[in-house]
């Protein structure tokens, strides 16, 4: 559960977030939508502690976000644009993040698993993986690996295999294509089985096959009880994935509704149309109010005369 209370943020003279109040329910996929510059990324960065809000409170699973870094242990983040040190290889990057997260020595996907055995069933995969990783690491750094890998909290190499990243692992980050960079970034977001996942335009730059693998993975994670917060400009994707939509407009929370609710309310089939209609209706409301004001003014002046 993420609770956001009266969150306010200025960048210089620009008012990026205006008194935002949101509660993000656990175990669901919530899409944060809005036009460019509406404050989506700022909102996510505030929750991650990257951006310090001017006022207001954020709490993640009951822990106040106030500059401490430990709550980020439960969080996985995939940014819009991931850039790791250019001269490190993919496997070194993974190793590094494992190191930083306190999983020293386990930062290697088992090289023996070829992508053909990488069956799409989660559990079989994990036990298999745990076994190999344990063998690989026993020689140098095997002390508490056994405990870790036997529990379901072991590292999740599933996406690594599904994306077939073994063939890329010795390339330096500099030489990776944009799509492969996204894939590495996706693997790292899911690797530590976070309770909460932030995905900032995650499928941008992925090919259709990878993109659908990735979406399947998101849904599987949701089924395991992970809270997912994503932003995207592709409405069909949002409609496929998410249950709740949080719509930001010029730094304000415009509405927060279930996807089904929005569709029913507007009578549209696709989310894209539904949201367009919803925005239209609300600006239409303003016109009506304006008309009413003009009308009352007319009556009043007429009355005086």
């Amino acid at each position: 559960m993420i609770t956001i209370n009266k969150l306010d943020k200025h960048y210089g003279s620009q008012h990026a977030l205006k008194s935002i109040d949101i509660r993000i329910a656990p175990g669901r996929i919530t899409a944060v939508l809005g036009p460019n510059g509406a404050g989506k990324t700022t909102l996510i960065k505030c929750i991650l502690g990257l951006v310090k809000p001017d006022s207001g409170q954020i709490s993640v699973d009951g822990i106040r976000v106030n500059g401490e870094s430990d709550y980020r242990r439960m969080i996985g983040y995939m940014p819009q644009l991931a850039r790791y040190p250019e001269n490190l290889t993919v496997s070194e990057i993974v190793e590094m993040i494992c190191d930083v997260r306190g999983w020293s020595g386990s930062g290697k996907p088992d090289a023996t698993t070829s992508s053909s055995d990488s069956n799409y069933s989660h559990k079989a995969h994990d036990t298999h993986n745990a076994h190999d990783a344990h063998d690989v690491n026993k020689t140098h750094n095997g002390h508490d690996l056994q405990n870790r890998h036997n529990t379901p909290t072991g590292l999740d190499w599933d996406l690594w295999h599904r994306f077939n990243l073994d063939s890329e692992k010795n390339k330096t980050f500099r030489t990776l294509s944009g799509g492969n960079r996204q894939k590495v970034s996706a693997v790292l977001a899911f690797l530590f089985r976070p309770k909460i996942l932030f995905l900032d335009e995650p499928t941008a730059g992925l090919d259709p096959v990878s993109s659908s693998i990735f979406k399947d993975k998101i849904l599987e994670e949701r089924d395991r009880g992970t809270t997912v917060i994503l932003t995207s400009h592709i409405m069909s994707e949002v409609q496929d994935l998410s249950e709740t939509v949080v719509y930001l407009l010029e730094g304000r929370l415009h509405f927060e509704r279930g996807v089904e609710e929005i569709l029913a309310e507007t009578g549209q089939k696709t989310l894209e149309r539904a949201i367009a209609k919803k925005l239209d209706v609300s600006s239409g409301d303003n016109d009506e109010i304006n008309e009413a004001i003009v009308f009352t003014e007319k009556i009043m002046t007429g009355g005086v005369l």
Binding site: L50, Y77, E86, V100
Partner: protein, 260 residues
């Protein structure tokens, strides 16, 4: 945690082409000076003038570039359970250390294979110390600027201007002041002025050690009496240490408060 970040940082920087080129530059230059027939001490004095110009410039530009380029990476690491000050020190040492190693290694290797005497060794060690201090100081200033200004054109431009100011303009200004006020006793104010410039400090430290009056600029000349003494050397060292501490702590402050 700092050590973990530093480990990968070093691996990344040590593999980059520019740090290798930077080390080679010093190596080739020192080697050439030896080939022109200089003995150890003379090579050091020639090197000094290069070091005092090249190191501030290179540290400043590379430092600012590096931080701008690793911006997204810093963001990414901050989403993991990493404390900001830990990441700052990792990033800072991760650049300053390779710069120092590249410079020190590049300069010292030709001294090793040319087999110079102990006098030249003490000279080159002092040179390496001064150069290392300047590297750390200017990487610190560059980090501060890159964190303070999000616009990289602004940050890099300011880095260049500051660098130019300390290497060239500052000494010119002092000369100008001395010329304008030539009928007044200016020794003490000029001493104070020079403490403000880390490059002058480096030059003074070196010159006092060798007593090579021919190479002294005007700022240096005023210092002879004052800094020839133990007391003078202490003051120079303390002000160099202040120069080490101030930009880095300002950079750290920016890093702790910054919105990424």
């Amino acid at each position: 945690m700092i050590a973990k970040i530093l480990k990968y940082q070093l691996r990344d920087v040590m593999r980059s082409k520019w740090i290798i080129a930077y080390a080679l530059l010093f190596l080739i230059f020192t080697d050439v000076l030896f080939r022109f027939g200089g003995d150890g001490v003379r090579v050091v004095t020639s090197l000094m003038n290069v070091v005092l110009i090249v190191i501030p410039l290179a540290s400043m530009i590379l430092g600012a570039f590096y931080l701008y380029n690793t911006r997204e990476y810093i963001e990414l690491l901050l989403c993991h359970p990493v404390k900001r000050h830990q990441l700052f020190w990792g990033m800072f040492l991760g650049l300053a250390l390779p710069m120092v190693l590249a410079f020190g290694g590049g300069v010292m290797i030709p001294f090793v294979y040319n087999g110079v005497g102990p006098e030249a060794w003490s000279a080159v060690l002092l040179l390496v110390f001064t150069g290392s201090a300047l590297s750390v100081i200017f990487v610190g200033i560059a980090y501060y600027l890159a964190l303070r200004f999000d616009d990289r054109i602004k940050g890099l431009g300011l880095a260049l201007v500051i660098c130019l100011f300390f290497t060239v303009i500052y000494d010119g200004l002092i000369l100008f002041v001395i010329y304008l006020l030539s009928s007044y006793p200016l020794e003490k104010p000029v001493i104070a002025f020079s403490l403000v410039n880390p490059i002058d400090m480096g030059r003074i430290l070196m010159l006092m050690q060798f007593d090579i009056s021919a190479l002294m600029g005007l700022t240096g000349a005023v210092f002879r009496d004052f800094f020839g003494t133990k007391m003078g050397m202490m003051i120079a060292l303390v002000s160099l240490l202040l120069w080490l501490a101030i930009p880095v702590s300002a950079g750290l402050r920016q890093f702790l408060l910054k919105d990424f």
